[in-house]
């Protein structure tokens, strides 16, 4: 794990323009205040891992980055564009931000291959051949080249999740968001998905990863956010945070999960 992750970590922070910037993001669900003013900057090749107790707003934060949740107040910038502006073309923005979900969310009525080619065809307007080739490349990259004609219902959770990753990668996104992608998997299937993510980080993909896999967070993350009760309670270099937590909340959290 450590070896593969090393390149991703070595070139971090502050390279060029920020890719993503959140300014004082608040999110209310009815009267529930889920995000209470989050500021965040991500650069190319950053692998930001987000950890914290459940209900702390981790998934909401991640979903705000691609505007699947609209912040109640605050701004989200992607490549210098304010995507919280009502005039922003979110459909176009989302083609640059791949998301992988906890529940895979593959389209059950389509084969693995069609899951990947659908958006290439309908959104990017690629020709059938181009879409097919690109999809086959990505499916092979996640080790699913042998099951391209299977329907999601015929695949294991780990296999479905790898197809979901291929589906997102095929759009050739600028960054990838991973929302607790291994939480729904049987323990013996977690490894195959993490392996794909580690390789992706090694290839220099910009990633935000909400996860309960503390080993992954420590080894692969270039930066870690500890989100607690809607605020970033602590952030920094993952190992540093694991070995020298600064706040009581993080100490308590680590004591529980490690």
């Amino acid at each position: 794990m450590t070896e593969t992750a090393a390149p991703a970590r070595s070139q971090t922070q502050g390279v060029g323009e920020p890719l993503v910037k959140l300014e004082d993001v608040h999110k209310w669900f009815g009267n529930l205040h889920v995000l209470k003013g989050v500021d965040l900057t991500m650069h190319q090749r950053d692998v930001v891992v987000v950890v914290g107790p459940s209900g702390g707003g981790k998934s909401t934060l991640l979903r705000c980055v691609s505007m699947l949740e609209e912040p109640t107040t605050g701004r989200v910038y992607f490549e210098d564009r304010d995507i919280t502006d009502v005039r922003a073309n979110l459909n176009e923005v989302r083609t640059h931000i791949g998301i992988v979900f906890q529940a895979y969310n593959l389209f059950p009525h389509m084969t693995a291959l069609r899951n990947v080619t659908l958006a290439l065809d309908k959104v990017l307007g690629l020709s059938n051949d181009e879409a097919h080739d690109r999809a086959m490349d990505q499916l092979a990259r996640v080790g699913m080249g042998h099951k391209v004609n299977a329907y999601p219902g015929q695949l294991s959770g780990g296999q479905q999740q790898r197809v979901a990753i291929a589906r997102a990668l095929a759009m050739q996104p600028t960054m990838m968001l991973f929302d607790e992608v291994t939480s729904a998997l049987d323990p013996e299937l977690v490894g195959e998905v993490l392996e794909v993510m580690i390789r992706l980080a090694g290839d220099g993909m910009t990633m935000m990863v909400v996860t309960h896999e503390m080993g992954f967070a420590r080894e692969v993350g270039s930066r870690m956010l500890f989100l607690d009760e809607g605020r970033i309670a602590e952030e920094g270099e993952p190992r540093e945070m694991f070995y020298h937590p600064q706040t009581d909340r993080l100490r308590q959290f680590l004591a529980k999960v490690l």
Binding site: S66, F101, A103, F107, H109, V123, Y151, G153
Partner: protein, 382 residues
């Protein structure tokens, strides 16, 4: 650590745990079946005996106001006479005796049966026996009343001669009315179903108003008013048949809209999120990801709506169809009016059942397939 050896001989099939049977429960079970069979045989054999041999109008029948001038009087008389035949009587009372025995024996012993099979046989025998007793008592009561009157009006098939083609055409017209109405309704329903799911009240409100109006007013009102509206209000030259199809489509559209709305809402939220996260617009997500899945789920309820519509087409009788446009019910009603013989309605029921029963079976099969969860895989062209 204890390592347990697997048993050397693995059974090939699941073991039968229902246990052995015994003479008593087997006898109760047999008695129950026998009681029903005896009654059925007695009825069928004596009816056939009378129907297939030369008979005359008996005094008994004349007393029941079956007159020689009635069309098919002899046939009706045969039904009445067969009902009163000693063979029928014997079968009914034997059935009551056998069924009653099965009921008493089964009910008194099933608790003491010591294997599942014995218990099941005792209970099933008692249930069948009680059904036989009730059936036989009902027939005994019925034939003591006015079976002649009943048979004359509901089982007199003589007047139906020459109506065969009319009923076939009626069935075709019924199916055309229902099918055309359903197809139009599905198109209207899909559009309305998507509209009522809109985030915007301005989009939702008109669709909701339409649905509430057509669900909240009687179909017969819609037919009559629609007819006058189109022909006199708008001065259109439409046949009643076409008006009926239009009204059925508008009405079914309201119900289909609710079916589609529920179907779309039943698709997990993650599906639309996944589609949107790939850059698809709302309508692309609907078209490629959501609706194809929803359509599979709404097939059984839509077929159910279709069965309901087949029966509701009988309401076209209020519109004054021309003879070639008659549906099943209008055909029967016209026949009954001409002959004062309600047997036409008996035949109409049979005609409706011939159309609807296969569909009902198909709906059940489709629902079963849907529940088994294979729908996402089978027949998915993408």
């Amino acid at each position: 650590m204890v390592v347990r050896e697997a048993p050397s001989i693995e059974p090939e099939v699941a073991p039968d745990v229902r246990g052995p049977t015994a003479p008593l429960p087997a006898a109760i079970f047999a008695l129950g079946i026998a009681s029903l069979v005896v009654i059925a045989l007695g009825l069928v054999v004596s009816q056939l005996n009378y129907a297939l041999s030369d008979r005359v109008l008996t005094q008994n029948c004349l007393d029941e106001q079956i007159s020689p001038s009635d069309n098919g009087a002899i046939g009706v008389c045969n039904i009445v006479e067969a009902l009163g035949d000693p063979l029928t009587t014997g079968a009914l009372y034997l059935g009551i005796g056998l069924g009653g025995t099965a009921l008493v024996l089964g009910a008194s012993t099933y608790r003491r049966m010591d294997s599942k099979r014995r218990r099941d046989e005792a209970i099933t025998g008692a249930v069948l026996g009680s059904q036989a007793v009730l059936l036989a008592l009902a027939i005994v009561w019925f034939r003591s009343a006015t079976p002649g009157l009943f048979a004359k009006h509901f089982l007199n098939f003589a007047d139906l001669q020459g109506y065969g083609a009319a009923f076939v055409r009626g069935a075709l017209n019924t199916i055309i009315l229902a099918f055309a109405g359903e197809m139009g309704g599905i198109v209207i329903g899909l559009v309305l179903g998507i509209l009522v799911l809109s985030q915007r009240r301005a989009v939702r409100a008109p669709a909701r108003t339409y649905i509430n109006f057509f669900r909240g007013t009687p179909l017969i009102w819609q037919l009559v008013t629609g007819y006058f509206l189109l022909l006199f209000g708008f001065g259109l030259h439409l046949s009643a048949f076409v008006v009926a199809i239009i009204v059925f489509a508008l009405n079914t559209g309201a119900y289909a809209a609710e079916v589609f709305r529920a179907g779309i809402q039943s698709i997990e939220r993650g599906q639309i999120e996944a589609a949107r996260s790939l850059g698809m617009s709302y309508f692309q997500a609907m078209r490629y990801a959501i609706v194809p899945q929803a359509v599979r789920r709404v097939i059984p309820p839509l077929m159910n709506e279709f069965v309901i519509l087949i029966k509701d087409t009988a309401l076209v009788i209020v519109l004054g169809l021309t003879a070639s446009e008659y549906d099943i019910f209008t055909t029967a009603r016209e026949g009954q009016s001409a002959t004062f013989n309600a047997t036409f309605f008996t035949v109409a029921a049979i005609a409706y059942l011939i159309v609807t029963l296969p569909l009902i079976r198909l709906v059940n099969a489709a629902e079963k397939r849907l529940r088994s969860g294979l729908v996402g895989i089978a027949g998915a062209g993408g």
